[in-house]
């Protein structure tokens, strides 16, 4: 007998205690049985998990400006540096200044990043290429990306490898990451609001502040293995 069959057999004996557990009742046709993300794993959702979902979708009513403020505050509390800029022209100037202030000599540029974002930036552009070795990427000073979305209540930005975001490793190896968030378009209030907007097939990286550890006497130290500096630019915020 394979271990697969052995384990499945043990599970079936363990749960066959004669009582219908939660979720054995079939779902009536037309009832929403799941998130409706359209994944078809080939398994029939023939029963209702019976999970009470009376938790809140959002923890406060906020205007878009208040949501942006909350995002900024939560990011800053987790030691990200937050900047606000109104228009694209201002963005290019700001990115140029941030890279210069950092003393960056090179900057990773993911495919699909609007070219004019870095029009005022001096560092050498390094394109995100599959062929780049980790050592090559480790030698780059900074990286500039967009994001898939940002979550205000938790101070989180989510990257999904889409245009302007690049491969997962380019926001990991350089010590300095600048992430641009379009406000209010890319900002949601809460985690439950974010989930339906994300595609789980894509690799997802959730970032809440710079790399940090509290392993030594619970003293929080920023920057162990990931970027020690995270700067978030809110584009379009007032």
């Amino acid at each position: 007998m394979s271990s697969r069959d052995r384990i499945l057999g043990r599970i079936r004996r363990a749960t066959a205690d004669g009582r219908p557990g939660p979720g054995l009742e079939p779902v009536a046709p037309g009832l929403d049985a799941g998130p409706g993300l359209g994944f078809d794993s080939g398994f029939d959702s023939g029963f209702d998990p019976g999970v009470p979902r009376d938790y809140l979708r959002v923890h406060a009513e906020r205007t878009p400006a208040e949501t942006a403020d909350l995002l900024a505050a939560n990011l800053a509390e987790y030691r990200a540096k937050v900047h606000r800029v109104v228009g694209e022209d201002g963005l290019a100037a700001l990115l140029g200044r941030l890279l210069a202030a950092r003393g960056a000599r090179s900057v990773l540029v993911p495919a699909g990043l609007p070219a004019h974002w870095l029009s005022a930036a001096a560092p050498v552009r390094v394109p995100d290429r599959a062929a780049s070795t980790p050592c090559e990427l480790d030698a780059v000073d900074s990286v500039v990306t967009g994001c898939a979305l940002a979550i205000a209540e938790t101070g989180t930005i989510v990257l999904d490898g889409g245009p302007g975001q690049g491969r997962r490793r380019i926001t990991l190896l350089p010590d300095h990451h600048i992430c641009v968030v379009r406000v209010p378009g890319q900002v949601v209030d809460s985690v439950p609001q974010a989930m339906p907007l994300l595609d789980p097939v894509r690799p997802l990286t959730w970032i809440s502040g710079p790399s940090a550890t509290s392993d030594i006497e619970l003293d929080r130290v920023e920057g162990v293995h990931g970027p020690r500096t995270l700067e978030v630019v809110l584009l379009g915020a007032q």
Binding site: S2, S3, R4, I7, L8, R10, I11, R12, R13, A14, T15, D17, G21, P22, G23, P35, L37, S41, F43, F47, P49, V51, P52, Y55, L56, Y78, A130, A131, P134, D138, I151, E153, G155, R167, R168, R169, L172, V191, P192, A194, M195, P200, V201, R202, P203, T205, W206, I207, S208, G209, S211, T213, S214, I216, E217, L218, V221, V224, H225, G226
Partner: protein, 507 residues
Amino acid sequence: MTAIHLGMPAFPAFPAFPAFPAAAGKAVADPVLRANLRRATHTIRDKRARAVAELADWAELRAAGKAVKDHTLRHLDRYLLELEASVTAAGGTVHWAADAEEANRIVTELVLATGEREVVKVKSMATQEIGLNEALEAAGIAAYETDLAELIVQLGHDRPSHILVPAIHLGRAEIREVFAEEMGGWGRPAPEGLGDDPRELAEAARLHLREKFLRAKVAVSGANFMVAETGTMVVFESEGNGRMCLTLPETLISVVGIEKVIPTFRDLEIFLQTLPRSSTAERMNPYTTMWTGLGPSKGAEGDGPTAFHLVLLDNGRTDTLADEVGRQALRCIRCSACLNVCPVYERAGGHAYGSVYPGPIGAILSPQLRGTGSEIDASLPYASTLCGACYEVCPVAIDIPEVLVHLRERVAQGGPVTREGIRVRIRPAHGHAAERAAMRAARLLLNHDDWPVALRAGERLLARARRLRPRRLPGPGRAWTDSRELPELPAQPFRDWWAARDREGRA
């Protein structure tokens, strides 16, 4: 049914442990350790309370998390098959391991097949549980732990003592010493004149490990969650070492307990809110990585590993599932909130539990995963005052006191249990040896020097709990619903008294 005594199963990471009372006694007598533990647990528990209080719907999130886990466990076969299909469709390979030995063999063979002789590891309790590092070492493969605390523990030839902060028992001076003495033997030595500032120590770890990350071809991880619907694996972390391991190497091998599966991607919205707040007391941990097989490009475009293996681990979990009271321990999402509120953990420290799972959750999980055949496992259900604080903070509402009492019953009176899938009946421990051990444990923990009050309270509690416990169970399922109030029994909550004692500064 035949009556047999089951020996301690292979548990290579923690061989031949003394029973809890002996181990706890040593810890209690160590004032430095006690001070470290006390400061750490109190700091985290206070922060956690604030983080939880921010969410008005905490009770609803907790109920939803419990319901998701209960439902999944009840239909675990279905969801594991769905997960297997999803992971396979996304370009991954799924392996099934019935026990530690099989899991170690699978991982070792996978590593050897790559031609590599070293792997980087992101902190994984499942691989600690099966003693993977030791098994790899025996096969000539070096396994490097990359979480800062795990690195400290590994370099120091030590053992982890806390789920979230495994090196909580060590101070900065001890860590500095470990780095200065041991780093050179594993790779890049610690910088000359290394001080004991946490910032300096973290920097030394960064430099030491960066060269390993950059050259690693194989990584081994665990996972916090596996989504059946989509095949998505999820790892929560803070340092970025997880991202390094999950992103840079060519081959990724994830060893995950079968209880970590959840039905849908949407279900993550619950645990993304409850796990970080319960664990590190943050609104969100700095990094969470979600990957689904090899991604849309099946690894061809170089975003992440080009080979992904998932090893589904049983190792006592199906036996735990077979116990209708004890199976709730499988809901655990390893947040460690129960450790930080436990007066026994605070004094005894994690090592006393003789398991990778310390604290209240360890006291109910380890004896179920391993059986109660060994002295340490028979004593673990007694490593508690039944004060109930662990239940109150648990984000998936595991009634730890209920399971503790249930397991005490098993140790003291014997009865039917499932071991390696087979229903057996175990004999009572000789002369209630474990119960006597429990009283010794209570004295060691509570009767320290000038604490007659503590001793009295502890003994009164234990005595009352015992008196109210039914001698015989009328039926396997019903009996414990009849005695559900037992964990809430102390009218004068022990932790209130404990907190009052703390306020008086009598620590």
